[in-house]
C-alpha cells in the first residue's frame, strides 16, 4: 500500500507540471502586453514599466516559468494586484470555505445516494424503488441555479427556516482557527454556533449535492443489481448468511468499486460549478475569490485560484485511487 501511494505520488509530478504550465500561460496568452491589459487603457508608460519589472515580465519565458515554479515550491503564490496582500495567506479562508461546502455537499450526496441505491436494488420494482428512481431522474435534470433559487425562496424567504446567504451569522463572526467553521466552533466547544453554521450549510450543500446524489443513487442501484446476480453472492447465501450480511458486506463492497469512480468525478464537477453556487449563496469560497478577481483583472489571483482548484481536484483523484485500491485487491500498478 505504501509503495503504491509513493508511486502514485510520483505519477503526480507530470500532472502538476502540466497544471502550472497552463496557469502560467494564462497571463501570457493575453493578447498584447499583459501589463498594459492589467493596468487598463489609461495607464502611463512608467506604470507599465514598473509592473513589468515587479512581475518579471521582461525576462525570457523559460526564466519566468522557472521563477514561477520556484516560488510555487516555496508556497509563494504571488501578490494580489488589488489588495497588495500575499495571495498564499489571503486565499486560505476561501479554500477552507470551498472545502467545507464541498465536503458537506458530497457527504449529503453519498449518504443519501448510496443508501437510496442500495434499498432500490434490494427492493427492486417496489414503490420505494420507483419513487427513488423518479426522484433521481428529476435530480439529474435539474439546473443547480434553479434549485438554489427555489430553496432560497421556499426555505429562507417563505418559511424562514434556514439562512439563505453566507457561512455564519454576520453580526457575530467566529474567531477562526482553521477557517473550517464547523470544526472551529467545535474546537471552541461552542455548540450553539456549530448549529448555526451547520444551518448555513444546509441549503447550499443540497443545491450543490443533488445532482451527484442522483447520479450516485442510480449508479449504486445498477451496480448492486449486477453484483447481486454474481456467483459469489450465491455462495454467500449457500453458506447460510442472512440478507443483511449478503447486501451490506458482500454486495456493497463490490458494488462500490464503480461508484467510487463516479464519486471522484462528481466531486470534480462540483468544484467546477462552485463559482455559480458560491455566488448565489454569497459563499466566500475560491470560486467567488476568482470571480471577483476577474472583475478587477487581478491576474495573479486568477492564476492562483485556478491552480488551487485544479490542485484540489488532483488530490481528490489521488484519494479516490487509493480508496479504489483499498476496495479492490485485484488492482495492480
Amino acid at each position: 500500500m505504501v509503495t503504491y501511494i509513493i508511486r502514485r505520488l510520483l505519477m503526480l509530478i507530470p500532472v502538476l507540471i502540466g497544471m502550472t504550465l497552463i496557469t502560467f500561460s494564462i497571463v501570457h496568452l493575453i493578447p498584447g502586453n499583459p501589463a498594459q491589459v492589467i493596468l487598463g487603457e489609461t495607464a502611463t508608460g512608467e506604470a507599465i514599466a514598473n509592473l513589468e519589472e515587479t512581475m518579471g515580465l521582461n525576462e525570457p519565458y523559460f526564466v519566468q516559468y522557472w521563477n514561477y515554479l520556484l516560488d510555487l515550491l516555496q508556497g509563494d503564490l504571488g501578490t494580489s494586484l488589488r489588495s497588495k496582500a500575499e495571495i498564499s495567506s489571503e486565499i486560505l479562508p476561501y479554500i477552507a470555505a470551498t472545502f467545507e461546502l464541498t465536503f458537506f455537499a458530497m457527504l449529503f450526496a453519498i449518504i443519501v445516494g448510496v443508501n437510496a441505491g442500495i434499498i432500490s436494488a434490494w427492493k427492486q420494482n417496489s414503490w420505494f424503488d420507483f419513487l427513488a428512481m423518479l426522484f433521481a431522474l428529476v435530480g439529474v435534470s435539474m439546473p443547480v441555479f434553479w434549485l438554489a433559487l427555489m430553496e432560497q425562496w421556499i426555505f429562507a424567504q417563505e418559511l424562514g427556516w434556514l439562512p439563505a446567504y453566507g457561512r455564519q451569522d454576520s453580526r457575530d463572526p467566529i474567531a477562526a482557527i482553521t477557517h473550517l467553521y464547523v470544526l472551529d466552533s467545535l474546537i471552541h466547544l461552542d455548540f450553539a454556533r456549530a448549529f448555526t453554521i451547520l444551518k448555513h450549510l444546509i441549503l447550499p450543500s443540497i443545491a450543490l449535492g443533488t445532482i451527484p446524489m442522483a447520479i450516485i443513487a442510480r449508479m449504486t442501484r445498477s451496480s448492486m443489481l449486477e453484483v447481486m446476480k454474481s456467483d459469489y453472492i450465491r455462495t454467500v447465501r449457500a453458506k447460510g448468511s442472512g440478507q443483511f450480511l449478503v447486501i451490506y458486506k458482500h454486495a456493497l463492497k463490490n458494488a462500490m468499486i464503480p461508484v467510487v469512480t463516479v464519486i471522484g468525478l462528481q466531486t470534480g464537477v462540483l468544484l467546477g460549478g462552485a463559482i455559480l453556487t458560491e455566488t448565489i449563496f454569497s459563499w466566500p469560497g475560491v470560486g467567488r475569490y476568482v470571480y471577483e478577481a476577474i472583475n478587477y483583472r487581478d491576474y495573479p489571483v486568477i492564476q492562483s485560484g485556478i491552480l488551487v482548484i485544479a490542485f484540489i481536484f488532483v488530490m481528490i483523484n489521488l484519494f479516490v485511487d487509493i480508496l479504489y485500491k483499498k476496495l479492490d485487491p485485484r488492482i495492480k500498478y
Binding site: 446476480k229 454474481s230 456467483d231 459469489y232 450465491r234 455462495t235 454467500v236 447465501r237 449457500a238 453458506k239 447460510g240 448468511s241 442472512g242 450480511l245 458482500h250 463492497k253 463490490n254 468499486i257 476496495l327 479492490d328 485487491p329 485485484r330
Partner: protein
Amino acid sequence: MEDVILELSGLSTHFFTDQGEIPAVDKVSFRVHKGEVVGVVGESGSGKSVTSLSILQLIPSPPGKIVSGSIRYKGEDLAKATEKRMKRIRGNEISMIFQEPMTSLNPVFTIGNQMREAIRIHQKISKKAATEKAIQMLKLVGIPRAEDIVNEYPHQLSGGMRQRVMIAMAMSSDPSLLIADEPTTALDVTIQAQILDLMKKINKEEHTSILLITHDLGVVADICDRVVVMYAGQVVEKGTTREILKDPQHPYTQGLIRSLPKLHGREEKLYSIPGTVARPKKDRVGCRFAPRCEFAFERCFKENPELYQLGDGRESRCFLHTEKKGERLEDATTNT
C-alpha cells in the same frame, strides 16, 4: 428406509418468464442414502442445476418457484421450510459447491475472512478459533501453506486451489450432505482427478453423502454409487452406476455412453447425440427426447411416457419397455 438422507418426490420448479412458464424441473424424484454418492447426469440445460438449487431454496425468485413436490431432508420438507430455517440448513446441514471456482469466491475479501464467516454463522466460536478452524480445514483439503493462504485473496489462487477452498468452506460445519454442481467442469483433467479424489476421501472419511451434478459420465463412473439421468427437466433413468454403464435402458443414456471418449477405441470421430436439448415447454405432448431419438415411433410423439419400473430399483422413461417387453436395447451400444 431409515438411512435416507434426502428424498425428492415429484419436485417441480418452474420459471415464470416473459416467454411463458418454463417447467425447468418436472416431477423429479430420487433419494440419497447416508454415506452414498449419487450422480445426476444430463447435457447442459437438462435441469440439474435448478434441481440442486431448489433443494436449498436458492433459485432466483422471481422468476423461479417450486410449484409442487417435496424435498425431505431427514424427514423435514425443505420445500415448505421458512427462510429462517433454511439459513440454519444451508452450509450447516447441507453445503453446496459450484461449477465456477473462479467466480464463486468474493474477490474483495480474503480467503480467511470468507471461511471465518461460514464457520461463525453456524458455530459460536471466537474469531481466533474460527481462523484456526479455517486453517485446519484448508489443510484437510490438501492446501499447502494454509497459514498464508488465509490472508490471501481469491485471485492469488489457481482454479483448482479455489475449488479446494470452496470444499473446505463447505465442509467446515460438518454437513450431512454435500451438493456439488459440476465441481470439476471448469478445471483441467489432472486437477479434475485430484478434486474427485478429494471428494471420495471426504465421502469415506467424513461419511458425508454427496449429490454430484455433472454432464460427464466419466466422472460418474469414477465416483458415484448410483445415477439419476435427467433430460429436459425430467428423470429419464435411474439405477446403480454399474448397471447404468453396463446396461443402459433409455436411448438417451445409451447415447450419452456412446459419446464417451474411449481410451482404447480406434474411432475417428467422437459420437454425439444429434441435436440439442429443447427448452422445456409447458403442456407439450410426447416424449421430450423423441425428436432426437433413433428409436422414436408414433406413440412417442403423442403420449408422455412414464417412468417404468424395471425391477431391482431400476427405472426408465421409455415406451420401448412396453413395446418390446423383456428385450434389451443393446443394439444401440454394440452398433458403434
